[in-house]
Amino acid sequence: MSHSNEHAEHAAGHDHGEAHQHVVPLSLLSGILVLLLILTGLTVFTARELHFGEWNLVIAMIIACAKGTLVVLYFMHMRWEKMFNAIALITALIFVTLFISVSALDSFQYEDNINNYRAANPTRVPQAIISDAEVRAPELAAETGADHEAAPSTPAAPAKESHESGDGAAAPHAG
């Protein structure tokens, strides 16, 4: 059965004017699936178990790009495709990158203004941008079984405190 298939595959490629399609071997497809599943496990593991701060996003994106490349090259046959199709894909990717990069440039242009506004209105806007280490502090404290002294060290804590005490002041009037 499999032999006759290979003949059919062979014939499809060389017959007069018939579609020149590359038939991907099943073993290759299975191998790609296994690789993709391993990479999925890896991305979950690195995100949940390893704490590299900012680098976690970089690692996750590298793994995602690797997975995406495998899907495009093998599942989507790009490896055996005409160059023109690859150009269509790469052009789209370049424009998305350009779009995000230029938008990011413009966005960070006003970062000082945003931070100044935050500083002037501490209770009205969320206290971003908090560094990764500071954000992770309460979670890490909870993991290590530390007491609740660790939590108020986050920058957002003063805002919360004023908010809660405001509620607390209102509650006795209501009750």
């Binding site: 579609a19 991305t43 995100a47 989507m76 052009t91 509620d167 607390g168 209501a174």
Partner: protein
């Protein structure tokens, strides 16, 4: 079609059209190869526009994440990594069965092709079922997009309820510093049904993550008031979040729903297309010579998988 309109130079006139090329080969193509190549080129151009469309959402994600990392950090806690990972695996496997179905179509393996397309369709169903479970959970807890984001209001309401209950049983609950002893004690006295009292081990983690000195009492009370409501403060407090945190996280859920809903729509469209080629494959319309529809639907389905490959780490694994 009239005979006089055709010039003698034309290779195939209406008379011979049905003899010199197969039914599936359009008149304006010389060879099946040319037809297939053109179709694929058109498909890739379309996939390029799809990537550009999702690019807008990825751009919104990037800017908002850069400016409001805290919103993403708080919000992502409510997404289940397990469901996200299972959905990733489901889509990857369905992508594999799709690629295999294309191979089967190319090799004239008709029943295998139909079976694999059916498996791919089931994969899409599985993905949507899991997505529905996830969405339902979010809406139940007021974590929907836009006007459905009622989590801060629920949290505040339960805060206020807890506060009144606290002042009733413990007049000086706010004045007294929250100690490990006062929290559970206050909770115990306020609990109307002694049998349903939470074990102290359940109350302790909430006190541990409470940010303000007054919070442990309030959180413990809320945990008990949640017995009557089934949802609410107990849920958010268990994740270590206050009303303020939930106000912050609003943007994250808008982006989460925007991106996953557009992706989910693509899954549904992909499933419809798979069903369409499945029925055509069952009728035996595809062969080693002609299988372009299976190929193109496959490309679409892989793109859906490709986008999820990026959505999963960006939304679930912050």
């Amino acid at each position: 079609m009239s005979q006089v309109e055709l010039s003698p130079a034309q290779a195939h006139d209406a008379e011979n059209a049905h003899h010199d090329h197969p039914e599936w080969l359009a008149h304006h193509f010389d060879t099946p190869d040319q037809q297939n190549t053109s179709a694929k080129m058109g498909m890739w151009a379309f996939l390029g526009t799809e990537i550009l469309m999702f690019g807008g959402l990825f751009c919104a994600y990037a800017i908002w994440r850069a400016n409001h990392y805290d919103a993403f950090w708080i919000g992502h806690v409510y997404l289940s990594t397990a469901w996200g990972a299972i959905n990733t695996v489901v889509l990857l496997i369905s992508s594999f069965t799709m690629a295999w179905a294309v191979r089967a179509a190319q090799l004239n393996q008709r029943s295998l092709c139909v079976g694999l397309l059916a498996l791919t369709f089931l994969g899409g169903c599985g993905f949507m079922v899991i997505k529905t479970i996830e969405y339902t959970g979010k809406f139940e807890h007021g974590l929907g997009p836009g006007i459905w984001y009622t989590a801060p209001a629920i949290s505040k309401q339960l805060d206020a309820m807890a506060e009144t209950a606290g002042t009733a049983s413990h007049a000086d609950a706010e004045a007294a510093p929250a100690t490990e002893a006062s929290g559970p004690a206050a909770a115990e006295s306020a609990n109307p049904v002694p049998g349903t009292s939470l074990p102290s081990s359940a109350a302790a983690p909430m006190g541990m993550v409470a940010p303000a000195p007054v919070a442990p009492v309030g959180h413990d009370m809320a945990a008990h008031s949640a017995h009557g409501h089934g949802e609410g403060h107990n849920y958010y407090a268990a994740h270590g979040h206050t009303t303020e945190d939930l106000v912050t996280a609003r943007t994250f859920f808008s982006i989460y729903f925007g991106m996953t809903a557009l992706h989910g729509l693509h899954v549904l469209v992909g499933m419809a297309l798979i069903l369409w080629v499945l029925l055509r494959a069952r009728r035996g319309e595809f062969s080693a010579e002609f299988n372009t529809p299976v190929d193109l639907v496959g490309l679409y389905w892989h793109l859906v998988d490709l986008i999820w490959i990026f959505l999963f780490p960006l939304l679930y694994l912050i």
